[in-house]
Symmetry: C2
Subunit: 509 residues, 2 copies
């Protein structure tokens, strides 16, 4: 298994030079070459980046291509600008304005697939390529071929060697084992989620406007439940309220009195990361707008068309958006478990350290993954394995699982690796790059902000709190200036402007 | 069955005033009211418009709301600006730039559903409301809930009375009974089709770029077949070629030599509606670009990943786009068949006249639907039933099934009805509006145009033929100035500009 079979020269001769061709796996029928990747590698280290979110994509954009050969492994070959997701879910922005292609930087290679496991001794990652789930097309206009991605199985599995690997696979949505959440609720972590939500909201209004819709059915369809009173849930509720009052009430005047939005949370307050006076402001604002807040409420189950709460029983709803925090990524839970040797030398077996609460990978102040010796219980960081973002847990600090943290870690790691490589090149003559000795990673909170609807927001920074219209302006400015590509720097203000003047696009397709 | 049950007053009291509530159907559990629709009707005639394409949507926008109460019945509550579909299928434009909401005009009511049948004696249309096909959501990121529309069955069926009805339901794609077309080929008639095509093209490049993709698989995935050499097939091939050469070859440099586009047609020439010298120009242009044209070729079957032609056998392909003309809409074929009385008076039974070739509804020069007496074989036009667009066949003229024809018919019918209503109001004191006596409909061809890729097009008008860059400019200008809404007048040039400067968005989601 661990022998690497190079393609025989006779097969090679009629294969083209493919930048993305990699190692051959003995048990596969086809064999591949790492030669073209090696050919462009030069004396650079190859950094495998697992994931293309705030951590992985941010790092890939920072790394010096003179010193490193970055290769992203990700099932989702685009970066999602998550703060704009709620806006796209209601049509304030078009979906693609919250996306950047992982391939946007020349020199950064991307392979679409899932990392399955890391061989720390061989320094390789086993990847399963992601393929489209094919179904036959339905009749014209149908959407039979939904194109979700699935693992391609044995035939799409391959091994990629690395000099360094950075784990930035993020986290999944936490459901706390509540039955029916995965089947009947919408998450809001990807653009595909946002699209499903937008479609569902418009569908609810369409169905409710049918002459055959009963009173009861209309009330159900236009009752929207948001589970989780964190910033995502709050911003989505606010954006949904904007959509309903600005656009849908005008287009479906007969339904204007029906829509209801309710935020449920087990905690006694929403927006717990904000100061009390900002939370009070948010609650008062929502109260005026008619958005209900049901704190200290427990959702016991989600069904098709209803939620069950401990406090109020069965509540018929048209749609449920679920935002109650993060669960470990399966790669962290499954791919990094067990004991393994760290090198060819016999020094026993090691296991990746994880935090007890959320099962994230423990990293030190250099964001290096820590491992523990099976027998001696010795703990040490790996020199070439890093973890950043929602899947990492920085020992001793309880950093929130936010885009801000992931982004700062990506920027710090990129800069530090670049600096270390320059030093290495000048002073050490090409030994493996080591980050130790550079300044450690330090998180600096830039504050938190949340949109509350009707052009009002709250922001809380070290410099003070702001609420209302000015906070909204800061909120928009921050997101606009942080949007990555020129395309989105053009499109986002165009959409804001046209949708402000002309209303949101409410076509469901 | 024909008795109309009004809601009892006691039920009514707690129901809101709903603009879209209509007739009650006795066999349903719920009953509805036409009162609110009647309340706003005044002395206007109610015009039921079946369909919201070039015909139906065009007409709804023309009708004077002083004289008429338009109500659109359509399963697709948006108008598709079909000439831009090919552009959206490759990302030159965003999907929504080719859409306008059917609800965009205040005072035009819209019900989402399928017309099932027309009762000519009672002057009602039986409608089945369209509902979302629900499935459970998949795991996060998946697209389990695809949201295609299906008939809601008995519980969503209702009857709508009319003064006049206009049939503009369009046509379906013609498959000539070739097996596998519906299952494995893409049509290009709706925005949902364009989205499926765009997703598929990007998927083909993604899968081909996996290190595990074999030589054979790469050739298959990047081989695109376009069946039908009419303007739609030609423009799609041209746009696809632009996407591949402008964007994808740069993003997947290792795949640059693979993509192949082939147009198949049974006819000896493509673009048969153009003059020979323009067709020659198009063929030479495609030849230079490497787009293959296989005329006099017969596709016998479409499979998952292959087409079978009579001339060349099985050809592995990554995607098939099918554009070989139109088939009758099921409503025309099924909903308007059989014999029926025209009025309460005993004058025997009548049947709707259809053309023998394509089964379209025969209309006279006033676009009135013609019926034939069962026994006497007497043929006469109905005064209050019109048909326009692809589902209508204007007797004696062989008009092409194009947007131009449908649009001119919609504009003519709207203006003529408005004029007749004004005359009626002034001179006839409120008798039913009659179009006879007004100038008849005459089609005036404004010419044909087709985009050929690389900023070149061909246009053919009475004033002469134009080809190349100037024709492209005319093509863009024509489509831009014809785009309906202000939103799209802003967004279309923004997308053209940003995609020209920055490349197309290639994110697949």
């Amino acid at each position: 298994m661990s022998t690497i079979v190079r393609r025989p020269a006779v097969v090679k001769s009629h294969l083209p030079d493919i930048g993305r061709c990699l190692y051959g796996i003995p048990h596969q029928k086809r064999s591949f070459t790492i030669e073209s990747l090696n050919a462009t590698k030069g004396d650079r280290e190859r950094i495998l980046i697992l994931g293309s979110g705030w951590g992985g994509f941010g790092l890939a954009n920072k790394l010096s291509l003179k010193d490193y050969q970055p290769l992203i492994i990700t099932p989702r070959t685009y970066f999602v600008f998550t703060p704009l997701l709620a806006s796209t879910a209601v049509g304030t922005l078009e979906f693609r304005t919250a996306m950047e292609s992982s391939r946007s930087r020349d020199g950064v290679e991307v392979v679409r697939g899932w990392a399955e496991s890391i061989d720390f001794a061989k320094k390789t990652v086993m990847v399963e390529g992601a393929l489209e789930k094919r179904r036959s097309n339905n009749s014209p206009g149908g959407e039979g071929q939904d194109g979700a991605l699935v693992g391609g199985g044995e035939n799409s599995r391959f091994e990629v060697p690395f000099d360094k690997v950075v784990i930035g696979v993020g986290a999944y949505s936490q459901t706390f084992g509540v039955p029916g959440v995965k089947e009947h609720a919408f998450f809001l972590k990807d653009v595909a989620d946002a699209r499903k939500i937008r479609k569902r909201i418009l569908e609810c209004f369409e169905e409710a406007s049918l002459p055959t819709a009963s009173e009861e059915r209309k009330k159900q369809l236009l009752n929207f439940a948001v589970i989780g009173g964190g910033p995502t849930g709050v911003e989505f509720s606010a954006e949904l309220h904007d959509l309903v009052t600005d656009d849908l009430s005008r287009l479906y005047p007969s339904l204007a009195s029906y829509p209801k939005i309710t935020i449920y949370d087990v905690a006694p307050r929403i927006l717990s990361m904000f100061d009390g006076n900002l939370t009070n402001y948010a609650e008062r604002h929502f109260h005026r707008q008619g958005i209900q807040i049901k704190t200290s409420h427990h959702v016991l189950a989600v069904e098709d068309g209803a939620i069950i709460t401990k406090e109020e029983g069965r509540i018929p709803v048209g749609g449920v958006v679920w935002n109650t925090g993060l669960a470990p990524n399966p790669f962290i839970a499954q791919g990094l478990k067990g004991k393994f040797p760290l090198a060819a030398e016999e020094d026993g077996e090691w296991g990746v350290e994880k935090d007890e609460k959320a099962g994230r990978v423990v990293v030190d102040n250099y964001l290096r993954v820590k491992v523990k010796h099976e027998e001696t219980s010795q703990v040490k960081p790996l020199e070439d394995v890093f973890a950043i973002g929602d899947c990492a847990w920085l020992e001793g600090k309880d950093l929130p699982a936010t885009a801000q943290v992931a982004n700062q870690q990506a920027v710090w790691l990129g800069r530090t690796l670049n600096k270390a490589a320059r030093k290495n090149r000048k002073e050490l003559g090409g030994a493996p790059v080591r980050v130790v000795g550079e300044p450690e990673f330090k998180y600096r909170s830039l504050g938190v902000m949340a949109y509350l609807g009707s052009w009002k927001a709250i922001t809380q920074t070290d410099q003070g709190d702001v609420k209302g219209r000015l906070a909204w302006l800061m909120w928009r400015t921050a997101y606009f200036t942080k949007s990555v590509s020129w395309r989105n720097k053009v499109l986002i203000p165009v959409y804001w402007f046209t949708n402000w003047i002309l209303g949101r696009d409410i076509n469901r397709f």
